[in-house]
Amino acid sequence: FFLKKITFVKHNTLPNMDVTLGLLNGGDDEDGGGVPSDGSTTNRSILTGSKEDNNNNNMVVMSSEVTSSSYPVVGDESLDGLELGLGLGIGGGGGGLKSKMVASGGGGGWNQYARILTAKDFPTSLVSKQNSCSSSSSVNIPNNSSSSGTKRTATDSVSPPNGTSVVGWPPVSKAHRMPSLASQLKSPTENFVSKPEQNKSKNRTVGLKDYLDERNGISNKKYRSVKVNMDGTLIGRKVDLNAHTSYEMLAQTLHEMFFRSSAEAVKPSRLLDGTSEFVLTYEDKDGDCMLVGDVPWEMFLSSVKRLRIMKNSDSNELAPRFEENNQRHRD
């Protein structure tokens, strides 16, 4: 069995909307739906009716956000041995599920609702990535310490620290991203310095090659997501470099991605200072393996092709090469 954190969100309901909450025992697959038996933790709703039945079926809504305590808590039983799921109610609400519902507390229209749970019912916060299935968009919600001083309840325990960001959020286009930073990047003198670095390998022959290059996915752009692989881990990840403004920020994100399990508190990353058992390296556009952190951030952005988190023991062979490369760049 698994537990899902749910709450029931009550609003100024529209008069003709009835919502029921179903509570099912064990693995019963009754009329009204059940929980997927593979134990998957995706927060899916199960619509067991087909489209044709819509006229007298009411969808059951399951929300996974905790709202304020002004919502009545109907029951507070232990959840051991219960599976939570969605079911279809019929007409006035309840249908075949009514007999299963624990109707207690509340009044009036709340009679048919079985449980309203708050975060206290659950031992640990389980809502980490309920809404994202993709590895490339980990939902990191910055701590909400807004000026009005309100506190978020349930998700506090899973909020990562400030500084981590979700890919493509907030939705600010490149043109409007980080104007203060952009001013440092794009001042004429700075541009003059970094230009040879950026353009040295581009022999611009206009021709069919460009079209074919585009088709093959080779792009001239200076921003992108890069792959990150860690030694010993089979599946790589992707990180959006454009969402980061410094090495520290990048190291923090990578630390979140690869080293942190959901329960543990966040420690500052040691990927950059050589004290961890791993080192962060990258492959630059010449194919060389470089240590992350030595060149200015903007220069790194323009030359990095992929990242690799290497075991520290392997990095010894890196060092001499790095020195060699450093020499080459200085020439």
Partner: protein
């Protein structure tokens, strides 16, 4: 009777019908109208370059002069579309170069353009006049040099927000001395410095130049020289707006600005030094459009400017304007139609400026003509949204971005369902909506029931279940574009509304709960949709049907599966396992 009407007369009548939708409607009346219309269509708009092929367009419309194409999905602006996705201009320009020798105008948005493509444009179309590349990429200043050198009658070159490989500023010097036709030049996205004397000469020999958007590298000290050469300018984008504080330079600049009696729009303003702001005061009263979204100036300075612009219709600012500035705006700018407030520090959770929902409420109260809003902020409440909705039922575009995903009403901690519900209930002409904050399926119920004119909807981190998506797909009659990220929407709603998808331009879903199997079934049911699964993990062919897809892009097309997909995109109609 249509039969006794000479074609020439009908053609003449049709020439007054310019809107694309109207012309499309005209062509549906009967076969003869279809024929007449297609021969006299001069402007074609293709909202999704993969919905149709160049060949199909050319076959139907043989006499086109202006083509507008859009490529990547909107979420490409936020890095959600991987490199190599597509949107190549080259196949189009190849065929158009053969079929449309008299082509005059090309407008592209979010497409990949190459230098070779630009060179072909410059040589194949003898009467080429207008090139607008909006948020495009893949080309360098070499391509621009070809355009400058070869297009004898070039009227407009607009590179707005494109990513250009900037090899040097030399391209501008390729405009021949004989080129005097320029009316509009927007090079604001380029970083290299152009030859100032070449720029000056170009401006001096372009008497019809109305729009000039300089890039950051053009120094402020030289701006007055340029303005003296072009006092007829209607829209100006400055370069970097900073220099050593020198009163003589400032007064020269002020004097140059005051000569520009036609000036209605200002933009640029990178690196603003407040000392130089008074130079624009003389033109403020005429301004209808002001873009200060790069100006990192504080509230008092911004406020001082906007309160001098009573005719302002469109304003873009950073959130440095704060609630006080917006309040002043609401009192001074009664003609305001469009407001965009961008975040100065979007990746920091704590507010660095005092900009809240109150600023937007104030503007909604004072600016009676306000139609279009893009607002980034850190807190919002249902009561504020309801107030805004009741104040401004004439809103047609409402895009709200609360920076923290799933942020609730900060006063009550409730979801913002009711607030957005009020927006769609009161603003009956709403065409575009972007949601944010904590939202349950309830808000989608409101949207499905009320937002009957809604054409574009953007959803992020919202909803509880497939029911939410189902409400939207089954209720929004005018929906054309739907883009969703990080929502618990899955197979059921999608498969229950398959035919809806053919009435829309496109659907984007990323980081949702859609399974590979559902994508295959969708594709099977709807052969005129391209169901494209984007998945960079690299093992799509061996994934079980129950596995979730990273990103899904579905669009209607008459051109079949596209042939230029990179390895990480699959069209579900071509799925090898499906074929069995």
């Amino acid at each position: 009777m249509a039969l006794s009407f000479p074609e020439e007369v009908l053609e003449h009548v049709f020439s007054f019908i310019t809107s694309h939708t109207d012309r499309n409607t005209v062509s549906l009346v009967c076969k003869s109208w279809y024929e007449i219309e297609r021969w006299c269509r001069r402007r074609v708009f293709i909202g999704n370059c993969y919905a149709v092929s160049p060949g199909i367009m050319i076959r139907r419309f043989p006499e086109v002069r202006c083509v507008e194409l859009k490529g990547k999905p909107h979420f490409a602006d936020f890095n959600l579309v991987p490199d190599g996705w597509g949107g190549y201009f080259y196949p189009w320009v190849c065929e158009m170069s053969r079929a449309y020798p008299w082509l005059e105008e090309i407008r592209l948005k979010r497409m990949v353009v190459s230098d070779e493509g630009l060179e072909l444009v410059s040589k194949a179309f003898k009467n080429f006049k207008v090139l607008v590349l909006s948020s495009c990429e893949g080309f360098s200043t070499d391509g621009l040099a070809a355009i400058a050198a070869n297009c004898r009658n070039l009227r407009e070159l607009d590179l707005r927000e494109s990513e250009v490989e900037d090899l040097s500023g030399h391209w501008l010097s390729h405009f021949p001395d004989s080129c005097t036709s320029l009316q509009s030049l927007n090079m604001s996205c380029l970083s290299s410095e152009v030859s100032f004397s070449a720029l000056q000469r170009l401006i001096a020999r372009s008497p019809n130049l109305k729009t000039l958007r300089l890039n950051r590298a053009v120094p402020l000290e030289k701006l007055s020289t340029l303005l003296h050469r072009a006092p007829q300018l209607v829209e100006l984008g400055t370069g970097a707006y900073s220099a050593e504080a020198r009163p003589d330079v400032c007064s020269n600049l002020a004097e140059a600005f005051s000569r520009c009696k036609e000036l209605k729009g200002l933009s640029g303003f990178w690196d603003v030094v407040p000392f130089y702001l008074p130079a624009i005061y003389s033109v403020c009263s005429r301004l209808t459009s002001l873009n200060l979204s790069y100006a990192t100036i504080q509230s008092p300075d911004v406020t001082k400017i906007v309160t001098q612009c009573p005719n302002l219709q469109s304003l873009s600012v950073l959130d440095y304007i704060e609630d006080t500035g917006l309040n002043a705006l609401s009192l001074s700018c009664k003609d305001l139609r469009e407001l965009r407030v961008f975040p100065s520090d979007p990746f920091v959770a704590d507010a660095n400026v005092s900009l809240t929902e109150q600023g937007l409420v104030a503007v909604s109260e004072g600016c009676y003509k306000l139609q279009s809003v893009l607002y980034f902020c850190r807190q919002m409440s249902n009561s504020a949204l309801t107030t805004i909705a009741k104040n401004r039922p004439n809103l047609n575009c409402f895009r709200l971005c609360i920076l923290e995903p799933r942020a609730p009403d900060y006063l009550t901690l409730e979801p913002l369902d009711n607030g957005f519900g009020a927006i769609v209930e009161n603003c009956k002409q709403l065409q575009r909506l972007s949601l944010s904050g904590l939202l349950t399926d309830r808000v989608f119920e409101y949207i499905g029931k009320r937002a009957k004119k809604l054409e574009m909807l953007s959803i992020a981190f919202a909803g509880d279940s497939d029911l939410g998506l189902h409400h939207v797909l089954s209720g929004c009659d005018s929906l054309r574009k739907l883009e969703i990220r990080d929502c618990p929407f899955g197979d059921k709603a999608l498969l229950a509304n398959v035919s809806k998808l053919e009435t829309m331009r496109s659907l984007w879903m990323s980081s949702c709960s859609v399974s590979l199997g559902a994508c295959k079934r969708l594709s099977q049911k709807m052969p005129r949709l391209n169901v494209e699964v984007i998945d960079e993990q690299g093992d799509l062919d061996s994934r079980p049907d129950s596995s979730p897809v990273e990103k899904l892009y579905v669009y209607r097309t008459v051109a079949g599966p596209r042939l230029d997909m990179p390895s990480f995109i699959r069209n579900m109609a071509q799925n090898p396992t499906y074929m069995r």
